[in-house]
Every structure is written in C-alpha cells, then in structure tokens.
C-alpha cells in the first residue's frame, strides 16, 4: 500500500503471505474504509455517487474478467453475455417467484457460472485467438437466445422490470442507498479475489497462465481448473449483471452487448492484467475518462471552437482518445496503471533519499 516498510522484517511464511503486508496497512485500510463509507457518500452530491456506482459495478465485472484473463491467461470476449445471463436469471426469479434479492443475486451468479463454464469448454482444446473467437461466438449465441426465447426474455421487448431491492422495511432506491448496497459487493469481490489467489485454486490458475504444460506435469488438473476459472469469472460477471439490473430497475439484453465485453477488456488491460488493484484502477479509468474529457471540453473547448463544433468534437475525441490510450498502454506500459502506481510507490519508498 502506501507506507514505508522500513524495519519490518518478516520471519514466517504466514506473515509474508498475509493480506496485510505490514501492521500499519490495517490502519490504511481502516482509513480507506472511513473515506468510502462515511466521507464520500455523506459529502458528495448524488450525481457523483451515481458515477461512483457505475464505477463499483465496473469494478466487480473487471475483477471477474481479470481472474480469467489476467490470472489464468484465458481470453474471453463474451463477458457481456455472462452479465446478461445473470441479469435475466435474477429478473425472472424476482418476477415469477417473487424471491428476495439475495437469492436472485446468488442464482444469477451461479447460472452465469454454469453458462460460463459451458462456453469455456472449447478452452480445453484451443487457446489464444481461437478461444477469443469461440467466446465471441458464445456472446452472439447467448444474445440470440435471450433475444428469441420469450420464456427468458419475458416478451418481444426483451426487458423485464424488477422492483428495487429491499432491506427489511427499507427500499433501496436513491443513489446513496445504491452506493452502500454496491459497496458491500465491491468489498466482497476484492476480498474474494485476493483470497482466491492465495489458495491452491488461485495458484493453479497462475500456473496454468504461466505454462500450461508445466502446470499439468506438476499435477494440476487443467480440465478442472480452466473450467473453474471460467465459472468463477462468470460468477462475478453474473453478479455484475444482477447488480446492474437492480441498479437500473430493469433487465435488458441490449445493455450487455459486445461493446460491453470490449470495455471490460479495456479496463483490465489499462488497469493491469493479473492484479486486483489494476482491475480497480482500470474500472475507474474507463468509466471516468469520457466524463473527464467532457468536463474539460466544456470548460476549455469554447475557447477554441464554436459551440456546435465542440458538441461534435467531444464524442469523437473521446472515441479516438479511448483507442489511443489502449494502444499507448499496450505499447508503453504493458502492465497498466497498476505498474504506474507501483512505480510511484517505489519512488516514494526511498524518497527523499533516492540513491
């Protein structure tokens, strides 16, 4: 994290593998907790909270995709579809059975995990580009199915309204309520991913990524772990889809099309593959980039251009900048924002005596 680690000597493996690398890290986490639980939601305008909520949703999805792409080294261009699987499962349960949101959330996640594992089956025989295209096919086939099977989609409009989540007598509808609601799952998602990577399963994922044949030789059942990676990753995606559905009050498959899959891939690549912090940075970056560009153009664009040109410039600039940044990060900083952050940190580690 952000502390000086001078003088801390670890003497056991347990200490070295601890979630908190330093005793003081606990305090940092606590401070962050206060910031995110108290300061931000109580001081900021609803609008900023709505942006934060979009970021939270993106963080969970990016964490999940990173488990698959970053940690296990499998490619998926079908994550948007897994989200829609979660969304429609939850929406159907909520409307047909009237089940409460925790049940729907879990069911949505599990259904997405199942579908994800099925789509992941080709990964047992193929990898790289072939797998990417197979998951793309998965995306299109899932979209098609939802679009055409009215039992799933709930009618030609393929959108199912869902009541807001309730917590006892409270209905969570304002952006502030949603902020807390989503924050819980973000924390769970982060803790879950960090812990997963410290278990046998997580280590197996990394081994498969680094060298699949070697992994098999040391006794990792590739068949099982690859599907498990797809399942866990899709579980996250499914949960993202369910949260999204509750956030909007409606499940609609057009919100989970191929562009979404690509946006999430961009998040983890810009943020940093195979890193929890990277997923978070990436989700923040990709969500905020268009907003920051727009604010900047609104503030300064009028100096250089006519108002109508500015309006046309903003979206085009955003599109080009988005593409350019992806390429920039891939070429210049392949490990993404996470690496940038580590560089900054290691610079300050010895600061001001940088020699």
């Amino acid at each position: 994290m952000i502390h000086r680690e001078c003088g801390v000597l670890k003497t056991t493996y347990e200490a070295d593998m601890g979630l908190y690398p330093l005793p003081i890290a606990k305090w940092t986490v606590a401070a962050l907790g206060v910031l995110f639980v108290v300061v931000i939601p109580l001081s900021l305008h609803e609008y900023y909270l709505s942006v934060a909520n979009l970021v939270w949703i993106a963080v969970i999805g990016a964490l999940g995709l990173n488990i698959l792409v970053g940690y296990t080294g499998q490619v998926s261009i079908g994550h948007g579809a897994f989200m829609s699987v979660g969304a429609y499962t939850a929406a159907n349960l909520a409307n047909r059975l009237g089940s409460p949101w925790p049940v729907n959330l879990l069911a949505g996640g599990l259904m997405a995990a199942l579908i994800g594992a099925i789509v992941g089956i080709p990964s047992l025989r193929i990898k790289g580009l072939y797998l990417a295209i197979a998951t793309l096919a998965g995306q299109l086939i899932i979209e098609w199915t939802i679009n055409h099977v009215t039992f799933i989609s709930g009618g030609v409009q393929a959108s199912i309204e869902v009541a807001r989540p309730r917590l006892g007598p409270m209905v969570l509808s304002s952006q502030r309520d949603m902020y807390y609601f989503l924050l819980v799952f973000v924390v769970l998602g982060i803790a879950g991913t960090m812990n997963l990577m410290r278990t046998r399963v997580g280590r197996a994922f990394i081994a498969i990524r680094d060298h699949d044949i070697a992994a098999e030789i040391i006794g990792i059942n590739i068949f099982r772990y690859k599907l498990l990676a797809f399942a866990i990753s899709s579980f996250y995606a499914g949960v993202t889809g369910v949260l999204y559905t509750y956030f909007l009050g409606i499940a609609n498959y057009e919100q989970f099309q191929i562009g979404v899959s690509i946006d999430y891939l961009a998040m983890i690549i810009i943020g940093g593959l195979g890193s929890v912090l990277g997923s978070i940075f990436g989700a923040i970056f990709v969500t905020l980039l268009p907003i920051v560009i727009r604010y900047a153009m609104e503030a300064f664009g009028g100096i250089f251009f006519a108002p109508q040109t500015v309006l046309n410039l903003i979206p085009n600039l955003r599109l080009m900048l988005f593409g350019a940044l992806i390429i920039f990060f891939l070429i210049v900083e392949p490990e993404g924002l996470n690496r940038l952050w580590r560089n900054i940190r290691s610079y300050f580690r010895v600061w001001p005596f940088a020699y």
């Binding site: 080294g73 193929i126 072939y130 990417a132 096919a137 410039l313 599109l319 350019a324």
Partner: protein, 298 residues
C-alpha cells in the same frame, strides 16, 4: 423448373457470390495472420476507412473514379506500413490478447477519424456498373457481386502465385514459418511484416470500394468485419484458399439458414448459423479446412 427448385438455385447463387465478397475481407485478415501472427480485429474498420477515402474523394472533392481508387490504394498501403512500424512492431512477442486489444483500440480510433475528419453522414460510392442483374435462366447475378467475386478470385490467383513462386512470397512464408530461422537466413523480417500489412491495405482498399458500393459509406460499413471470424476459422487462419472456401461456406450456410430455417424459428438465424458452425468446426477441426495442423493442444 419448379418454383422451389429455382428458389433453391437463387439462394445458392446468392450465397456463393456474397460468400466471395466475404472472402475479400477475410483475405486481408489471413494475409496478416499468415505473415506476422497478428490478429486484426480492426479489419472491418480498414474496409470502412477505405470506403471513406474513396467516397470522400468521389463525392466531396469531386475527383474522378480512378483517382479516388488510386488514392484509396495508396493511403491504405501507406497506412499499413505506418501502422506496422508505429504499433505492431512494438507488440511482437506479446500475448495474443495484447494484439487483439491494440487492434480494438485502433478500430475505435478509425471509427472516430472516418466521420470526423473525412465526412460525416452517409455517402454513396457509385461505380460505373449497372444495378440491374444479369439473368442466367432463373438466376440473377448482380454485377457488383460478380465484380467482387472476380476480385476475390483474382486475389486468390495473385497471392497464390506470389506465395508459391515469387522470391518475396517465399521469403514471407519463411518468416511466417519461423521468424528466427528466417532472420538467420538473411531475411529482413521486419520489412516483410511491413509488406504484409501493406498487402492487407490493398485488399482492404478494394474490399472497401466494393462493399462501400453495396452498403453506402458511413461507420456501419465497419460491421462487415464481423463476418470475417467464421470465414477464417472455417477456412483456416493462415490459408488463402481457406479464406475463399470459408467465405463460400459461410455465404451458402447463411442463405440456407435464412431461406429454410428462419420460417420455423421465427427469428433471423442468418448471422448466427455461421458462428454455430464455427464452434462445431473448432471442436472437430480447430485448424480449419486448410489451416496448418500445428495448433497447440492443451
């Protein structure tokens, strides 16, 4: 001939002709993969930008057709070279996902550049060929598709000769086969990467002109890129005849699906059927019909 039979022939001929138009786009994809192992997810955008350049030259600047076509060819070839130098060379040896993502980023840039820099809105791309089809018994043959098929087959023949007989083509195959050994043999590997991207530029330029004529030119032209994946997987990623055969298969399957499956399903299975077929193909024969059999098994 009964109505049903003649309709069947109509579907088949339409499928074969449109399939060759798909091949034209797939060829660009295959060329790059064959020579440089890179995957171009921006193939549709290459085609789109070629359409933009040609239609811009024709309709906005009022240039004659041959100038517009030449301009499209020159600018796409130059673009291919520059792209290789600036972006792809730096990504050599990086995981698949890096190149995939870089080309997706490139696609976003091109989608911004086309309408913002060249022209906004939709423009036609008129070619001096007539719209009315040739009649061959009960079968229609639209001239533009005939031209597209001709160009595809010409490319097949041209590239076939190039890779089998010409010195450059053989060098390029050597590069594709094993970059290190090729380098040791004194082949300038990076130069051939540039050449491969430039060749893709040529194919994309012609693809853009033909598809631009068919669809009109705006960002939606880039959507033809989605047709590429089933074509190349079915045909084999690194095979030029495979791109042609894959295109034909996809064209025919699409038409059969639309003509005989849609009425029973009540939805469009046309763009979905090739992907299902592709998944099956991946399971049975992952390297495609003509692809090299060195796909890594895991």
């Amino acid at each position: 001939m009964s109505d049903d039979l003649s309709f069947f022939f109509l579907l088949m001929s339409n499928g074969l002709l449109i399939g060759l138009m798909y091949s034209l786009i797939a060829l660009g994809f295959v060329l790059v993969y064959k020579a440089t192992d890179a995957i171009n997810f921006a193939q549709g955008e290459f085609v789109m930008i070629a359409g933009f350049v040609t239609a811009g030259a024709l309709m906005v600047w009022g240039a004659p057709l041959w100038v517009a076509v030449a301009l499209a060819l020159v600018s796409l070839v130059a673009f291919g070279f520059v792209l290789e130098r600036v972006m792809l060379r730096r990504l050599i040896g990086r995981p698949v996902i890096a190149v995939v993502m870089a080309t997706i980023g490139l696609a976003a840039i091109l989608r911004g550049v086309g309408p913002f820099v060249i022209f906004s809105g939709t423009k036609p791309l008129p070619l001096p060929i007539r719209d009315e089809p040739f009649m061959l018994g009960p079968i229609f043959i639209p001239p533009i598709q005939l031209l597209g098929a001709g160009v595809s087959l010409a490319f097949l023949a041209g590239f076939g000769w190039f890779f089998l007989k010409s010195r450059k083509g053989i060098a390029m195959r050597a590069v594709a086969d094993n970059q290190q050994v090729a380098m040791a043999m004194g082949i300038d590997v990076e130069r051939y990467f540039g050449v491969a991207w430039a060749m893709t530029g040529v194919v994309s330029a012609l693809g853009g002109i033909l598809w631009g004529n068919l669809l009109g030119v705006d960002v939606n032209l880039a959507l033809v890129g989605f047709k590429v994946f089933p074509v190349v997987i079915l045909g084999g990623l690194d095979s030029i005849p495979g791109a042609i055969i894959g295109g034909l298969i996809v064209g025919v399957v699409e038409n059969i699906a639309a003509g005989y499956v849609d009425p029973y399903v009540g939805g469009g299975t046309k763009d979905f059927a090739p992907y299902v077929l592709m998944i099956l193909a991946l399971m049975i024969r992952p390297y495609g019909i003509f692809g090299k059999r060195i796909i890594e098994r895991v």
